[in-house]
Amino acid sequence: MGRTIVEKIFSSHIGGDVHAGDVVMAPVDRVMIHDITGPLAIEKFHEMGAIKVFAKDRVVMLFDHQVPADSIPAATNQKNMRKFALEQGILNYDIREGVCHQVLVEKGFARPGEIIIGADSHTCMYGACGSFATGIGSTDMGFALKFGALYFRVPETIKIQGEGKFPDRVTPKDLILSIIGEIGADGATYKAVEFTGVAFSDMDMSGRMTCCNMAIEMGAKSGIVPPDSTTWRYIKERKPDIKEFSLSSDDDGIFCNSIEFDVSTLEPKVAVPHNVDNVVPVSKVAGTPVDQVFIGSCTNGRFEDFREAIEVLGNNSFSDKVRVIIIPSSKEEYLKTLRAGYIEKFVLAGALVEAPCCGPCMGGAFGLLAPGETSLSTSNRNFKGRQGSTEAMVYLCSASTAAASAIKGEITDPREI
């Protein structure tokens, strides 16, 4: 009986042949905690009677949601986490590196065939590296910190076959928004999503991260791109000693659904308030005035996104009517963007460029919206109240569409700039 890539990853960890639907206790290769879900995870770890984490070199801690601390409770949470990291001898990047998912991937902590869990729903992004990665809650994380393992129901897999070449100024973000629009916000609940086909094998790692990152927005447990030469090159730049191996679904592996997308006919897309699966072509909402544009987050805060924005920006300036907030997702991405001269261009065009962090994405820190305001954001969620007031509107889009709209002061098709 053939197996999917996810069934193979679980089988290798269990040391047996497992299939979708099996409930297994699987060892985890790495775990990640941050400043929002970490404090509760540590509390649960102690409540479970644990003293030492299962393996101190397999735990990564960092702070990204509320950095630098913007309130006394946030500062206290971070202080307590620092103390835990010191006691346990675990790696703590603190506020220095950026958004958790970007940092884990770029530091080489997500490798093909691994099982990685993070106390954050967008942990599924590491599937871009060929890992099975999923987001969990704090109590599950407390359990994993204690035992180095967790219960999993091995998921069925939906195959997304991407064909064709992207037209100009149409990006992986437009593709993943289209996929979510078709599958729906709960269409992949409990399932894994495997992204295959030429559209994905031609895609750079940044685009793959964008797609895997948003798998949760259709309810999926994980998104995964089978590792290929692009993946291994990226991993080897970070972990030169790693040995390459092949990992993919069998031809006779069983998929619960298979959907094809031709990207060559794709248009720029926008997810309109207040659900991520409310996806329409940009042209349908073009002309909608915007108050704030945010280019950043683990979804689209990489050098490649900023390069897209710079190409659209050209010699234009951002509209005075719009607050443009640009936040690279990590120190590495920040430096690449800085060295390319893009930061200076953004600042001169009228943007506010912030240090790596989650920024307005979660609505917990700065860049909040007032009632009646509209934000266009390259992040991953447009839920009511996500970026401030529940009477504000959040639209999601690519960096190209965000830049075009920031120039015009209204939602704009990037192909028209």
Partner: protein, 158 residues
């Protein structure tokens, strides 16, 4: 048991907005449960009340603050047509029981609901409803009172 009825795709930002995730205490979180979405909830909810949702209840982030805010309100059960995966699991882990009922959308807000857990059913205004049984491995955790009491008894798992 009064029903607090919500619609489809109630996300974790609606249950507890991001700006309150600096708090970890269920009682503190409960003060802000559904703030901006349904302000009367935190003010009027009574211990023993039940939340009823539509499809994909609890979608979005992994924040365990969402089930904790509900628990802090004195609510012990959430009934919905379907649940988002992480919320469902977080609920079981923290001692909030999520019950799947495919007819949940027909239950009116403010109704009185009688739960008969042992029969996997409940009654609203004389009508019988069935809930799907909780999967076996999660029921073990639920019956232990959540993942913390379950894990306290274990030395190792692999």
């Amino acid at each position: 048991m009064r029903v607090w009825k919500f619609g489809d795709n109630i996300d974790t930002d609606a249950i507890i907005p991001g700006r309150f995730l600096i708090y970890n205490d269920p009682k503190e979180l409960a003060l802000h449960a559904f703030e901006g979405t349904r302000d009367e909830f935190a003010k009027k909810v009574s211990p023993g009340d039940i939340i009823v949702g539509g499809k994909n209840f609890g979608c979005g982030s992994s924040r365990e603050h969402a089930p904790l805010a509900i628990i802090g309100s004195g609510v012990k059960y959430v009934i919905a047509e379907s649940f988002a995966r992480i919320f469902y699991r977080n609920s079981i882990n923290t001692g909030l029981l999520p019950l799947v009922c495919t007819d949940a959308s027909t239950i009116p807000d403010g109704a009185q609901l009688q739960l008969q857990l042992e029969n996997n059913r409940f009654i609203v205004e004389g009508n019988n409803y069935r809930t799907e049984p909780v999967p076996d491995f999660l029921r073990t955790i639920s019956e232990a009172g959540g993942l913390v009491p379950y894990a306290r008894k274990l030395e190792r798992v692999i």
